[in-house]
Amino acid sequence: MLLTARSSVLGVARDFSVSIVTSEDEVLAAAEGFPIHVWGSNLQTACMRKNHPDFKEGDAYIHNDPYDGNSHAADHTLLVPVFFEGEHFFTTAVKAHQADTGNSLPTTYMAQAADVYQEGSLIFPAVKVQENYKDIDDIIRMCRRRIRVPDQWYGDFLAGIGAARIGERSLKKFVDKYGKDTVRSFVREWLDYSERRCIEAIKKLPKGKLEANQSHDPIEPWVPDGIPVNVKIDIDPDEAIVTVDLRDNIDCIDAGLNLTECTSTMAAAHGVLSCLGHDLPTNAGIMRRIKVLLRENCIVGIPKFPHSCSVATTNLTDIIVNVTQSSFAELEEGQGYAHSNYCNSAAAGVASGKDWRRGGEPYINQMFLMGGGGPASSETDGMHYLFVAVGAGLLYRDSIEIDEQRFPILVQKMQLMEDSTGHGRRRGGQGTEVVMGPRKDAIHILHVCNGLESAPIGVRGGTSSKLGENVRIDKDGKEHPSPAVMVCDLEQGELLRARDQGGGGYGPPVEREPERVLKDVENHIVSEEIARSVYGVAIAGSRKDDTLKIDFDATEELRTKMVT
């Protein structure tokens, strides 16, 4: 899938997932992917069985219905039921974010969509797209008429079907090798085993009820004061259950940021699971121990038709993941994480225009020139290119050269920013700055982001990082900051400067080992000034002959002063 994808959201951002669902609509196994994306295929197979009770071998279904199990309309999910000797055993689900799904504007994250009609995407509530292993051309033709860059879409469709059919073949062999009864009982055992693993992990946590919140940047004109998100968590090691309650939140809004049942659930579960250890099997067994309470017609719950859920995979989900993870840090030293970058900067926006180098051929694709600092944990510094919380560090970034070959742009800068992290005994990952502009004809960039008015917070004495920004710099060098929903036309000679955020810190900065601070200073992660004022570490020696070192006496003096 990765290697055959056309759109950069698939080939670069790895914005796709594959899972195997049992005939009882339980996720049995999911390949490595965004947690927000991976699960939820159980809701979609249930939808397939409900809408097509006569589904049969050789069928494939396309599903992107945000009101019946999908993450958001831009994710096309292909479902292939797997039969052995006429019996339905599994369904393979391949979900992939498309570069375009026929929205009214050329973007797949349409924050300004008042409802599903204004959003404009074609919605498929489990529609049959293959029968007897052959395309149903009506559906393909509909898509090709409505989706911008139809060849790109069809290439990704082929890649998805290929992956789902490879899964089908392998699963048939699997049932053939072990026998039907063994496979059925293995499925039960495997889910029970996974549940036991989850029970053991939860039993190790301290008991606690946690509550925290964080606001999303204002979205003019719909939510001028921003969107508050409240998360309540009940950790019950005795019963081995973690409950996340998202019901105490505002109703759905008339803009595209409403979450779906799948993404609300999985954002909360993502936050919990990252605190339980990363080695758990990803299936329905562990989800038996994580309860996510949702409300209908809630912005972070179950969406009420026809509210738009165009941006249901990012933004508010990042807040839920971060707030959940950082709440765990309150339990005791060693638990949880700081916040990670909120600002999926405009360097990850959807660019469109015409390429004069190819005779004016139109292009539309998402750019992935982002960093995004990861959160500090009690043991490790944050990753420098996590992107955002739901990105989970999985995304590839674009090669500058490939992007300049593909888009008629010139990138002037892409680098990690000094002093951009939240500080702490462990610091966050660094934020990234990108500066780029068109080489000749104008480019049009659409984008929706967060983190322009709120910074990732630190925990247990760690500090917050800084605000992100998206700024258009005009021909006279004047700066025009952009709001969270950005619609930007860059003419020749104009530049976009996009800065995302570092991650928050964990623990007091004065507890950071001076050797780590020295290394950060040497490598332009932390300036000498911040080393001194925040970490209490004095640096001696010179960069000129590569002899920077710790002034231990001065450091001790500084730190003694800071502690008292």
Binding site: L2, L3, T4, A5, R6, S8, L10, V12, G33, F34, P35, V149, D151, G155, L158, A159, I161, G162, R165, I166, Y193, R196, R197, E200, A201, H278, Y337, N365, G374, P375, S377, T380, H384, Y385, F387, A392, G393, L394, L395, R397, S399, I400, E401, I402, E404, Q405, R406, L410, V411, Q412, K413, Q415, V435, R439, N523, I525, R543, K544, D545, D546
Partner: protein
Amino acid sequence: MSYRIAVDTGGTFTDVVVADEHGNLVVGKSLTTPNNVFSGMSSALDNAAANLGVEADSILKETGVLTYGTTRSTNAIITSSAAKTALLVTKGFPDTLTYRHGGKREPLNLKMEFPDPYIPRRLTEEIAERINSEGGVESPLDVELASEIIQSLEPKRIEAIAVSFLWSIMNPSHELQVGQLIEKFLPNVPYTLSHQLNPIIREFPRTSSTAIDASLKPLMQKHFIELESSLRTAGYEGEFLVSTSSGGIKHVTDVVEKPIFTVKSGPAMAPLAGIAYAEAENLGNDIIIVDTGGTTFDVSLIRSGEIKYTRDTWLNGEWIGHNLGLSSVDIRSVGAGGGSIAWIDSGGLLRVGPDSAGADPGPACYGTGGNKPTVTDAAVVMGYIDPNHFLGGRMSLDTNAAAKVVEEISDKLDMSTEETAAGILEIAGEQMIKAIQEITVQDGVNPAESILVAGGGAAGLNIIPIAKSLGCSQVLLPKTAGALSACGGHYSNIVSEHSASRYSSTEDFDFDGVSKIFSDINAKLDAEQKSLQSRGVNSFDREYFVEARYLNQQWEMEFKLPMQAIENPRDVELLTEEFHNVHFRRYAVKEEGGTIECINWKGRLIAEMDKPPHAHAELNTSSKFDADRTVSAYFSDKGQCQTPVYVGADLPEKSEIVGPAIIEEPTTTVVVYPDSIAQVTAGGHYLLTPK
């Protein structure tokens, strides 16, 4: 001259394989001596000479070709002990080696440690200059500033310099100018320019390979000069050739210029042995080669006689470590070997690895302080390894210690010790099966249609059930399985590759541009061919490759071109057809009529070397053979079985042994599972047929 020598210097052992004029291969082993490689090589040669019954000195004097494989450069990268290297990059992009491609494994793991970039930011300097995607100059090189920066490296005691600018592949003038400035201001500091080493699109892999290459120059140049000098002093007068990561060999003088080619060169030799053995036994040329060591299991693949290559080779961790950036033999490693530790997780499931007892403390049965059950301990418990005959009797094992650690686990599982041991071996086998499936299935190869060649000391313990599970009908286990990589050195050719980047779409093919690329590549190959001819090499072949993708596809796929030049629309049609076919085979989809974008081009020169003939092994000629002894061994479906143990040297050609049985060789043990068959081939190898 009647001998040829192949050496593989690994982290622990140095293997020497001597071939005589009849093609008989004799293995010698010794501990590696990192401070003076020649010393370990020399003891291993003594060991081989003793097995041959001649003096090591006389072998060396009568040897015409010596091929040398080394892990020295690989180790220097892994342990960050290469030269102190500065990296010069285009202004605005100092963090390319930190960002890498982006991405990591384990989405829910936020406590992962990331290796530092290969060259730290503090030794990375930004040079004001910029070329655009068509090779035009957006900003000229600021020569004055560049000169200052280069001179500022001297007080930092920089030992090597890597230069990698954006789009130098389209216009190398800025890199070349900076190269001249380095020669002017720091004449004794070796440097590498990215467009010369690895002219491919994508700044990260190109910069990474440039940084690695420059950093290895001081170390590897010194190493090769010293080693060659020791060899000459010892009386060696023949050719000194070095193994490379592309599965070929090169003259030492060529490798000294581009030492990155020696990285991971040892395992890259194993497939050459695989293909040589399989072809000698007429077993076809679709081959899977596995090599089981103490801690890792390596798999490589040959399809229709062609080795599978990759441009995605990583050291110190996939995606988060250091990328080699060059096309090299695709070797998939999993952490499963004799030392892998078995444990029970919190859900009550038996797991094996990824932790390994390695050589220190080693498996419990070694009696060297190991107290956790390993795969080797399981094999001892099952009776597969005889405690008194391990490594030809050179090391005795503690059966009780093995049983004790396995019991600790079997008690928790409520299974017998033997059942548990069988479970450990089976799970280790499953990980190996997965590694084999990954490399084959991802390339559209059905493992069942391939022959499996198994090397490594521990391969024989479970290769039969592995083959059975994959559906492979036959396994070839060479007599020299314990030194597969070194053996590969005997069957290698001199291989040289040159790449160049040129975008061209099949819709509007750029015949002039691509033909210029071909002539540039050919000019380089011609020069190398000429130099080889002057050294007496006379047989040459050339192959050409392209990395291409469907319109707007995100990643390129490399495949061999069915022609030697692209001159007319018919050639473009053939290229297109081949792309569709390969794409369908690998990914199960193709887009009929789809436009194809060609990105990188590569030419390969293959200079055929003389190879040892395939020996007719000197085997026991009597028609009778007896088991050395009988032991009790455990098999899952049969329980404890009285199992005959044969000594390899006693077995005549074509003798067939039906399992259960065990065959002992000096460097490996073959377990013949019940009803499976082992047959001794004319070459003295074992052809195993799983049942």
